[in-house]
Symmetry: C2
Subunit: 508 residues, 2 copies
């Protein structure tokens, strides 16, 4: 055991932290400003950065430092005044070691050549998927997906598992989550949501042509910026740009960037997109000072991350209280054509619930059902209980059963999402978890601040922002998702909060 | 000697190549889009990238690979078909080894702690310089410059030298150049230019108020883009953005970005700035396919790089032939207020020669004299034959002697440039070398294509672009500057080409 283990560990930790942000800049720039032909070398640059990060995590220096630090969890005397790094508190030290342990262990289990084979297969796979989607032909994509699937099963085996090979994949995105928890949670959700859904759809019909009014890009952007200003989006630490697929990216502890896209004849895309990404952005901007610059300054899981975007987009951004303030501003200053539209029509339009084929266009009620289907299918694929030949039919049957409509071709069915072509098995559930966490957290906020929606009605978000920051953001990765959920809401993740939220909003 | 030396060398070479581009992206983003508070971590990110590059260059793996490759200059059988990299031709192999030898040797000579001490001193130095410049007080900056100077002399000693400690510093920016060549070259230039300058200034007076006409940013940008289009600036591989200090940056083999700034009441800043940076940009976009992705795909020296920007800005962009085509377009489509201005007045205005205090605002004739002063002074500082206490007076005396005017305070005198605060001693001469190379290359072009300016008069740049590409750009770093100059022009660098250019343009 070296005497300077902690110093070394903090150094590698900070280097990995910096390199991840550099890698994020490469990705952000690729989606926003990079000239088109830059893509080839950009892919090489990103791949090299990922390799450098992987090498640091799996290095002998890291292993020794981590082992040394674990034997000697006191830190202050080693880093001290001369160190670049502030000493961690005991709670943070434990979380820091737990998190590094997990990462080093995972990284060391994955054979290097599997990483490069997967990287190659998914790189080819994405191109083939795009082509197959365009031609609405699953068979074009099938052999490439087969290859990705074989390698992903290999990955699951390398990562080791007890119950299902899906568990270690899920764990990558949602640390601590397992099928044994997820399956009953989702099953309960399905069972309770199905009957409610029928009733909601029956009462939810509305003429929503007001959403399709021509609305110039520049005006949409100005309105979006105005909302961001009201939320307190800190421009000196953040940006809003345009990209084909909206995303949030963290490029530095004081540098978080969100993107959106503008559809000049369907403004909800941009407006709710901006509010959604701002939710992600505020999370990454809110990590506590005492963990900034370390591995702990990250979202605890993708599900919790998604809870922040959905909290803002749906619980706040589609709430009557929100538009009580913003609807008059929207129609008076940005979209005069709304003048003729009654407030209630507008509100019903942005909250219209109906069965739809495409996940990313789904409303907040049917959305989780799209995820349930994907979870069931991808779990079966990984467990090898569903063959790829049967996948398209299983998809279509599942859609009919869960949501009540059937795709007419693979392009609007099994081929709609990019995730499998990227090898991202285990990712989809985090979207639904985000929805569930968001509703559970929203319920806690309302319990704690019963009058908070009065503020929202006045265009004020201070209480909401501060509550999320104090209860969720500052903690970063310090508490596992399950523990964080209990701290915030007093109970474990429970789909009843979401069901109650839906009931109150749509069936009151 | 390992058997796979070449393979290893090519791999490290390519990784360094990629990491340099990543570092360029970090710098480009910092100057263009980064939110203001991102700067602190960005500095850490850039510093880490520079460390990683330095570690790769000075690694034992690199040393062994380079030694092995030098003993065994055949390459094909080792890289072959399976290699990621195309085999180099024998000429390129020799250049590749020469270049890496030079870099590894330099990098290994510099003690690591000197790098970090210099980095710290210049980081503080730049802040102090900015403050001192604002307050026009050299004494505020003096102790920090003293420290930088001491460390820079240490650097020169570490790099070793025969004649002057200035030589190894100059060599960093202009490989192969030495005071023994530069001093007589500059002395000749001074001697011959001085009497011509008096005559030119006497005849160069013109009412240049047309340059100060209000010209909205957007219109300036559109006009600049139009010129770039005519030059064939390849937007699929390039960008134009805005920054406080214009620059060109290469972020990938197909990703070169230039910036400019817009002054709404003095358009030459943006227009000639864009043409200038486009010259740099075309160089980096024009490296031959057979050297792309290697260390050879870089400008051979800063002097040659600057020759490309000055060739475009001055030899072409300020030429009567250029504006014969563009003046009517400018006044008819972009700046109607020019209607009343005779063509000759406009042309004389953009070529007006007069003594001025600030280098970056100087005309093309007096510009080299600004450099001659800086060369003389910084060389004396490094050689310790001029004390810092005497520097401001030496500056003012030199200005009076060379250019005929005297600064009234340090802000417009010795404190005007950032370079010394960055520790960039040896950089200034490359600006004057660029001017000289540009005139010499322009003379070759006219000799080879006597009618090329007729094309320029018609807004066509195909011959100019192609000639520069074939004669300069494709070669990258394959030939040293001196050899390249002889290849392009048939003779070594000679200030008579510039003197002749000035004589013909201004004293015909």
């Amino acid at each position: 055991m070296k005497s300077n283990s902690w110093k070394e560990l903090r150094k590698i930790d900070h280097e990995v932290y910096l390199l991840k942000h550099v890698s994020s800049l490469l990705g952000w720039d690729q989606e926003t400003y990079m000239p088109s032909r830059g893509i080839e070398e950009r892919a090489e640059q990103i791949s090299l950065l990922e390799t450098l990060i992987h090498e640091k995590i799996t290095s002998e220096a890291m292993k020794e430092a981590l082992e040394g630090a674990k034997e000697k969890p006191e830190i202050e005397e080693e880093t001290g005044k001369e160190s670049l790094f502030k000493p961690l508190t005991p709670v943070h030290r434990a979380a820091f070691l737990r998190e590094w342990d997990r990462r080093v262990e995972r990284a060391r289990k994955i054979p290097k050549n599997l990483v490069s084979r997967l990287s190659y297969a998914t790189s080819v796979g994405q191109a083939k998927w795009a082509q197959a989607k365009k031609e609405a032909s699953f068979n074009l994509f099938k052999p490439y997906l087969e290859e990705i699937l074989i390698l992903t099963r290999e990955l699951a085996a390398a990562l080791e598992f007890k119950d299902s090979p899906y568990d270690p994949l899920l764990d990558e995105y949602e640390p601590g989550m397992k099928c044994a928890i997820l399956t009953p949670l989702f099953e309960q959700l399905r069972k309770d949501l199905a009957p409610m859904l029928k009733e909601i759809i029956a009462t939810s019909n509305v003429d929503d042509t007001c959403l399709y009014l021509p609305f110039p890009k520049e005006a949409q952007h100005a309105f979006g910026e105005r909302i961001l200003n009201a939320i307190g989006f800190p421009w000196e630490r953040a940006r809003l740009d345009v990209s084909v697929h909206p995303f949030t990216s963290t490029l530095g502890r004081d540098d978080v960037r969100i993107t959106t896209r503008y559809n000049p004849t369907y403004f909800p895309t941009a407006i709710f997109g901006i509010i959604h990404e701002a939710g992600h952005g505020l999370y990454d901007l809110g990590f506590g000072d005492d963990i900034r610059g370390t591995i702990l300054a990250e979202g605890v899981s993708l599900g919790i991350h998604e809870s922040q975007s959905r909290f803002w987009e749906n619980c706040i951004g589609r709430h009557r209280a929100f538009w009580t303030y913003w609807f008059p501003i929207l129609k008076n200053e940005y979209l005069p054509a709304l003048e003729q539209v009654p407030f209630d029509t507008f509100l019903k339009s942005i909250n219209r619930v109906r069965p739809s084929l495409i996940r990313v266009e789904a409303d907040e009620v049917t959305y989780p059902l799209h995820i349930l289907l994907r979870y069931k299918l991808e779990k079966a694929l990984i467990e090898d209980t569903l063959s790829l030949s049967d996948l398209p039919a299983a998809w279509n049957d599942g859609m009919e059963e869960l949501i009540g409509i059937r795709p007419s071709h693979d392009g609007e069915g099994v081929l709609q999402d990019i995730h499998w072509s990227m090898g991202s098995f285990g990712y989809f559930p985090t979207y639904a978890l985000g929805t569930l966490y968001a509703a559970q957290f929203f319920s806690s906020l309302l319990k704690q601040y019963p009058l908070v929606l009065r503020e929202v009605e006045q265009g004020k978000f201070g209480t909401v922002v501060q509550w999320l920051k104090e209860n969720v953001h500052v903690h970063g990765k310090v508490f596992p998702a399950e523990e964080l959920c209990r701290k915030v809401s007093g109970s474990s993740l429970d789909s009843n909060y979401f069901l109650q939220y839906v009931r109150e909003k749509y069936l009151h």
